[in-house]
């Protein structure tokens, strides 16, 4: 079922359980077109499950997920065609070279041969992988593998990017390139939803941020709105995050660890 939608991603009453664990607890969320949206939360708060439901990888138990006007449940393949995804620890085909892997992904998304060639060469140059593209991925460092995973997500020019810890393992220069590139994509109308634990990155990059805790959405908005909700004017995202998730009292934990 396809229908017009103002928000790029629309979640309504979405819930997901794994046996007796509630991974996502009736979440309502709208992500606007062309914004960088940060999804924050402690480990096990439901961020990755939410991302996977948006990608139509996981079917929600309740509620609906609408991505770029497509109901995810009805046509998951159509959703995947529009989305670029980088999982938290991407496992690549280590027996392929970087070039072969990107060629493979390009073919999976049905890219035209000349377009594929141009894009692959551009991205390899931008990510400074030139000279190593013909080597098997098994010999790549973690950061190089992350770069290949990022390029494979960007390659088909998706309208929505779902990035789980996208800058993990990248050197500062490559991280900066990715950040600037994401901002440029935003200007072109591409929506990005990223999950990260590096709060400085989230604060610097995201237009809006959602903080999840135990599967629920605790707070949502830009930095100004988050500060107001946390009643912490002038504070940074770390303080807001710790206060909202009720984990700010870390002194006792540190002291216990020191014993």
């Amino acid at each position: 079922m396809v229908f017009a939608s103002e928000a790029a991603v629309k979640l309504r009453g979405v819930a997901k359980r794994y046996a007796d664990i509630v991974a996502v607890d009736h979440v309502d969320l709208d992500v606007k077109h062309g914004e960088i949206f940060g999804l924050l939360g402690p480990n096990g708060s439901g961020k990755t499950t939410t991302l996977k439901m948006i990608l139509a990888l996981i079917k929600p138990d309740y509620g609906s997920v609408n991505v770029l006007g497509i109901k995810a449940e009805d046509d998951p393949v159509a959703v995947k065609r529009q989305v670029g995804y980088v999982p938290e620890s991407p496992r690549l085909y280590e027996f392929l070279t970087g070039l072969e892997y990107l060629d493979f992904v390009g073919d999976i998304y049905g890219l035209d041969t000349s377009e594929k060639k141009t894009r692959i060469e551009e991205y390899l140059e931008a990510m400074e992988l030139e000279g190593r593209e013909g080597d098997m991925i098994s010999s790549y460092s973690q950061g190089m593998k992350q770069k290949i995973a990022l390029i494979s997500a960007f390659l088909h020019k998706p309208k929505l990017l779902l990035l789980d810890e996208p800058l993990s393992g990248l050197d500062p220069r490559s991280a900066r390139i990715v950040k600037d590139f994401l901002r440029k994509l935003t200007a072109q109308g591409v929506t990005t939803i990223m999950s990260t634990h590096i709060l400085e990155i989230a604060q610097a990059m995201c237009d809006r941020i959602a903080i999840m805790y135990e599967g629920r959405l605790l707070a949502l908005g830009d930095m100004k709105e988050l500060r107001r909700k946390a009643r912490l004017p002038g504070s940074d995202l770390e303080d807001i995050f710790l206060k909202l998730t009720g984990t700010e009292d870390i002194r006792a934990v540190v002291e216990a660890l020191l014993k």
Partner: protein, 566 residues
């Protein structure tokens, strides 16, 4: 050495079997009964065999026959250590080949307080888990039971010690082989440049061929009894080879030469220690060695214009087929699938050429050509089908996150199975035809049958492979749940017989196979069948099977892509 660390590491290896897709890991409850079923079964079987031999021994009234049984049992005791050594070498080597491609937790000693001694010992013992350990238990329980009847308890105790030591010796040798081959492969990569991949592929195949030729030559005669006879005789001749010293110690003990028994036992112990510490030193030196990168291409990127596209595959399907082709020629842990067609080809060929087994019976060439033309391709289709989804391992996330439909997935995987199996069939078939020279008519009929088998069994096993996929990669890729693989392999065998039965009927009625060979009583009327009709009936059966199981594979693929919660 911290023995608890060793046990913990071995335990990790045993527990790796838990990581099967779909298994709930929370509140995991170990089913120890099932886990130890293989060993318990081997133990019980050993006792039953021992009791059987013992009862026969007691029941025999003739003292001459009694002496013969006694001599036979002693011969068995004598050759068991070397036999266990050989079997353990084969199984641990195969296990290592499967592990090679996976960068498992081998770097653990690097950051955890585990010494190389502990790591090497754990690794050596862990390789024995499974069939080698089960065979040691089987032989030991049989020996112990028999010895009660034959009153050879002392010899039995010594034999059991020798068995355990032999298994350990084999595993330590494999450990050394593993470390050395990692270093050697590094040197090969460096020197062969772009050709490294093909050097590795053909090198691996050559290794497997050499390994099996040695193995089959050693087990000449095909039966374990022949092996035992051969070992008992050969041990004496090659007494200077340290690997037979355990057997020599037993032989000396049997002959009442205590001094020699002690010398060979101590020498064996020393040899095991030297090998073990050699493995430790090699592990410490090369255990963390990373072979240099394989550079496959340099220069301008030229995207491949698809030949597969011309065959009607979409770019997505063609990409999946190309990727799988690279996987099966580049991933070392997948190369073991070539073992089956190699064995299927080598055994009858060696038999036919007189390298292995007894004299060739008249008319054997007919069977050889039929077997070599039919079996390798069909077996390859079954093996590929069951493992083709599970081989994706952790990289399977890409399937779930990219726009791959169930139809594309099944179509591309099925096409790969067919193409790859047909290549194997042709390569093996050409060798078989050149040697046994069947008539053109029979050659064509067998080729058609083989293709039919590949199509039908490929569809059946693909459906099973999707349903029973196991993405565990550490310590070795599992690819398919063992129960699924066993059940579907048996099912494929039944289907293969059903598809092949019209041609079999033709072969019997046309006199290609004597009625006595297939054990059909003369009173049973066998209708004569024309070759073309036989092949046509086979084709109909195969097409029905293919159609039904392709649909099942599609259904399984749909479920598989929906249930992406790995």
């Amino acid at each position: 050495m911290n023995w608890k660390n060793v046990l913990r590491l071995i335990n990790v290896d045993i527990k790796s079997g838990r990581l099967i897709r779909g298994k709930k890991l929370r509140r995991y409850r170990e089913r120890r009964t099932f886990q130890y079923l293989l060993y318990g079964g081997a133990f019980v079987l050993g006792i039953v065999i021992g009791l059987g031999v013992g009862i026969v021994y007691n029941a025999v009234p003739d003292p001459q026959v009694k002496t013969l049984v006694e001599q036979g049992v002693r011969l068995l005791f004598l050759s068991f250590p070397t036999m266990v050594l050989l079997y353990s070498l084969v199984f641990t080597t195969m296990s290592q080949i499967q592990r090679m491609g996976v960068k498992s937790s081998i770097q653990l000693p690097y950051w955890l307080p585990i010494t190389w001694e502990e790591h090497t010992l754990a690794s050596t013992v862990a390789h024995l888990i499974g069939f080698p350990l089960a065979s040691v238990i089987l032989f030991s329980s049989a020996i112990a039971t028999v010895s009660i009847y034959l009153e050879t308890t002392h010899l039995a105790v010594l034999t059991i010690f020798a068995l355990v030591a032999s298994a350990f010796l084999a595993s330590t040798t494999t450990e050394i082989f593993r470390v050395l081959q990692v270093r050697l492969i590094g040197a090969v990569y460096k020197s062969s440049g772009k050709a490294a991949l093909w050097v590795r592929f053909f090198g691996s195949l050559l290794f497997l061929i050499a390994f099996y030729i040695v193995w089959f030559s050693l087990t000449s005669g095909g039966s374990s009894i022949a092996l035992i006879e051969m070992l008992a005789g050969a041990q004496q001749a090659v007494w200077f080879v340290p690997y037979v010293w355990l057997g020599m110690a037993l032989a000396s003990f049997m002959n009442g030469m205590l001094a020699q028994t002690v010398i060979f036992s101590l020498a064996s112990l020393l040899f095991i220690l030297v090998l073990f510490y050699g493995a430790v030193k090699l592990n410490a030196r090369f255990g963390l060695y990373e072979p240099p990168a394989i550079t496959v291409s340099r220069g301008a990127y030229v995207p491949k214009v698809g030949f597969l596209g011309k065959l009607g595959f979409s770019s997505l399907e063609a990409a999946l087929i190309r990727k799988d082709f690279k996987a099966f020629t580049r991933r070392r842990e997948l190369m073991y699938i070539f073992i089956t067609p190699l064995v299927v080809l080598l055994v009858p060929l060696m038999q036919y050429l007189g390298i292995y087994g007894g004299p060739v019976p008249p008319g054997a060439s007919r069977f050889l050509s039929a077997w070599v033309l039919l079996a390798p391709g069909a077996l390859m289709a079954v093996m590929l089908g069951t493992m083709i989804i599970g081989e994706e391992g952790g990289s399977v996330w890409l399937f779930f996150s990219s726009p791959i439909t169930a139809r594309s997935l099944v179509k591309s995987k099925y096409a790969f199975i067919i193409i790859f199996s047909c290549i194997v069939m042709l390569v093996c078939g050409v060798v078989g035809i050149l040697i046994s020279r069947p008539s053109p008519e029979i050659t064509i009929a067998l080729l058609i049958e083989s293709v039919l088998l590949i199509f039908a069994l490929g569809a059946v096993s693909l459906g099973a492979g999707i349903k029973g996929a196991d993405f565990t990669e550490v310590p070795r890729p599992r690819m398919v749940r063992p129960l699924t693989a066993i059940v579907y392999s048996l099912f494929c065998l039944v289907l293969a017989l059903a598809i092949f039965s019209p041609l079999l009927l033709y072969a019997v009625t046309a006199g290609y196979i004597p009625v006595t060979v297939v054990h059909i009583p003369a009173s049973v009327f066998l209708p004569k069948i024309d070759l073309y009709i036989a092949v046509s009936i086979s084709a109909v059966i195969a097409l029905v099977v293919t159609f039904v199981f392709f649909k099942i594979a599609l259904k399984n693929a749909k479920e598989f892509l929906i249930k992406a919660e790995i």
